[in-house]
């Protein structure tokens, strides 16, 4: 079968530390994969290498048939991968709309002439995108849709997360990388957020998601399959119920030798 994303023998070192050690990981279209493992097991590093923030010291990443191992972050984005960050990376002084539009970069006309002179056309493009952003936000939180031009800085954590996910979804990526969406939120907020994510996915069936998460409840509820990392190596793979009982995995988490 063909994979949407496939990493083969992916390796990344930081000085002496091996953050990703010869990792093989394959994702089939439309699935939701959970990427779990103790702190420093290389989950976020995997995201960073895939999205081109870090170079790989070995192995390859192919996405949608193309090799993106050496691709720059912008190139990866244009190929159809969007991500969120563990520590929220919204532009706080900017409005909700602006933040979401940052995610829509590839669908916005970047020409100087268009932006500065053809204001009429620009206005049409702007209004169209405003509509799109608004409908997307409404899925998550109708009230937010009323405050599209307020600075993100004034919003509570959960709303910021929502905006961040909207920013990643607005360009309708093929693959979405969620890096601990639950970080810094209460249990209920997390649950709410997950419902929203599932709802979005119902709207857009060919969306594939890789989610890094510590809240096992979340993983259990939304993932069809998980991959467990430890010291940059894959130590288990399979449905949550299965990996949860895996001895290696438990050792990894409890740190038993």
């Amino acid at each position: 079968m063909t994979y949407l994303l496939e990493a083969r023998g992916l390796t990344r070192k930081f000085g002496g530390v091996v953050a990703l050690d010869n990792l093989d990981l394959a994702v089939v279209p439309n699935e939701i994969i959970g990427l779990i493992g103790p702190n420093g097991s290389g989950k976020t590093t995997f995201f960073n290498v895939v999205t081109g923030l870090y170079g790989a010291h070995g192995g390859s990443v192919t996405f949608d048939g193309a090799d993106i191992t050496r691709a720059s972050s912008p190139a990866v984005y244009h190929a159809g991968i969007s991500r969120t960050f563990q520590r929220s990376r919204l532009s706080l002084p900017l409005s909700i709309f602006d933040n979401i539009m940052i995610g829509n970069h590839k669908r916005l006309n970047q020409g100087l002439w268009f932006n500065l002179i053809r204001r009429g056309e620009f206005k049409r493009e702007f209004e169209a995108n405003y509509g799109a952003a608004r409908t997307l936000v409404e899925v998550f939180e109708p009230q937010l849709a009323e405050r599209m031009f307020e600075p993100v800085g004034g919003l509570p954590m959960i709303d910021r997360r929502r905006i961040e996910i909207c920013r990643a979804l607005i360009n309708q990526p093929k693959l979405l990388l969620l890096d601990e969406p639950s970080a810094g939120m209460t249990h209920d907020e997390t649950k709410e957020l997950m419902d929203d994510i599932l709802q979005v996915r119902d709207l857009n069936r060919n969306l594939t998601i890789i989610i890094v998460e510590h809240e096992m409840g979340v993983i259990e509820r939304i993932t069809e399959r998980c991959v467990v990392l430890n010291f940059g190596r894959k130590i288990a793979e399979g449905p949550y119920r299965q990996v949860a009982v895996d001895r290696q995995v438990q050792e990894a988490y409890l740190g038993v030798e």
């Binding site: 999205t51 923030l53 720059s72 972050s73 912008p74 990866v76 984005y77 244009h78 969007s82 991500r83 960050f85 990376r89 919204l90 532009s91 706080l92 002084p93 900017l94 409005s95 602006d98 539009m101 940052i102 995610g103 970069h105 590839k106 916005l108 006309n109 970047q110 100087l112 932006n115 500065l116 204001r119 620009f122 206005k123 702007f126 405003y130 608004r134 009323e146 599209m148 031009f149 307020e150 600075p151 920013r167």
Partner: protein, 387 residues
């Protein structure tokens, strides 16, 4: 309540009143000769603004500007013309006024770099100087039409600036600051030791003349003697208007958004497809271009260029104007430039202490109001636009 106010378009009147009052005030201040009167006027301004602030009038004004900027912009131009007309034969006041206009153009350019893209440039005065020297050389040794000279001045500034692109793109933070600071000193020293460009002695600049109309001659409108500076006022006003509109549109476009994004978080921006280098370059070159044009015209107004006009200290003043006005807010820049240029000139008693006081004020601002006099509001792509 807030939502409600958001919904309906703010009225025009507060903005108009504010404009009218500040015009009247400006005329009064510029015309005042006696020191006590001037001090009184300045004190009055401070009190009035604070009062208006606490009565919530300033908020009304800013809302009406936010929603009706297009109309109010036109009125602002008219107001400027009224002031100029009032002082039609007063060389010195007009020179002061022109200086304000051109400094505003320059700081608008700087604003694209600092305020939007977050590209540090501590050589603003240097690029201003490049423009000025361009017009000095071209007007002295060539017959290039003077409007073209302005353009060349801008392009030259951008071109020479582009020599710094590699270090500017590669460095971050303080290392980036060094690049432009070193350039500022380099250029000043170069101009000083270079004989062709007049060395420390500087060069004379021919007055502007377009289609045989010489800008340096006084002229008469129906028996009334007009100061030749009115010519320069007209051109500067046009230049400022153009620049203002350009910068405004830039901010209120996807490009403005790109620049903000890369300023606030390069990594996130690049993860959403932004080509960091491309937009940094755009901002740096465009900014220097505008600064250069302003410099070229200012060279002609002053009629003289010398290395000491374009020192690191002058660049600092430009940056501080940005900060004073509120980084990223063009209207703030206009206000700040007026304060920085006009007040010390009028307040002879502080002439000697002006730099000291200026520095102290900036320090106070940084400590207690780092967002500046008129903080930049959230981006509105079209003034008064409602969903």
């Amino acid at each position: 309540m807030w939502e409600v106010m958001q919904k309906l378009r703010a009225p025009l009147l507060p903005g108009v009143v504010a404009l009218a009052l500040s015009t009247a005030y400006l005329i009064a201040l510029l015309a005042a000769e006696k020191q006590p009167l001037i001090i009184g006027l300045l004190a009055f301004a401070v009190v009035a603004v604070l009062a208006a602030h606490y009565l919530g009038w300033l908020d009304l004004v800013s809302r009406s500007f936010a929603d009706r900027e297009d109309v109010l912009g036109v009125y602002a131009i008219l107001a400027a013309c009224v002031v100029a007309a009032f002082f039609h034969d007063n060389h010195f006041v007009l020179l002061l006024f022109v200086t304000v206009l051109l400094y505003t153009v320059a700081t608008l350019g700087l604003n694209i770099q600092f305020g939007y893209a977050g590209v540090l440039n501590f050589a603003g005065a240097s690029f201003f100087g490049i423009g000025a020297y361009a017009s000095a050389v071209l007007s002295t040794y060539t017959a290039v039409p003077h409007l073209l000279v302005l353009l060349i001045g801008g392009m030259l500034a951008a071109l020479i600036g582009s020599l710094l692109l590699l270090p500017v793109l590669r460095t971050r933070g303080h290392y980036a600051a060094l690049v432009t600071i070193a350039f500022a000193l380099l250029l000043k020293t170069f101009l000083e030791v270079n004989d062709v460009l007049g060395g420390p002695q500087g060069m004379q600049v021919k007055g502007m003349s377009i289609l045989g109309w010489s800008f340096n001659d006084n002229f008469e409108i129906g028996k009334i003697e007009m100061s030749f500076y009115l010519n320069y006022f007209a051109v500067s006003m046009l230049l400022l208007t153009g620049t203002f509109v350009l910068v405004r549109r830039l901010e209120r476009s996807w490009i403005g958004l790109n620049l903000d994004a890369l300023r606030l978080d390069e990594i996130a921006a690049s993860c959403f497809g932004l080509d960091i280098a491309r937009w940094k370059i755009t901002a740096f070159l465009l900014g220097n271009f505008l600064i250069g044009i302003a410099g070229a015209l200012f060279g002609m107004v002053g009629g003289f260029v010398a290395p000491n006009n374009y020192t690191f200290a002058d660049s600092l003043i430009m940056v501080s104007i940005l900060l004073l006005g509120g980084i990223g807010n063009p209207w703030g820049l206009v206000v700040a430039t007026f304060i920085v240029v006009v007040v010390p000139e009028k307040l002879q008693t502080i002439q000697e202490y002006r730099i000291l006081l200026f520095a102290l004020i900036v320090i106070m601002m940084l400590l207690f109001r780092p967002e500046g006099l008129l903080p930049r509001p959230v981006r509105r792509y079209f003034p008064g636009w409602r969903a």
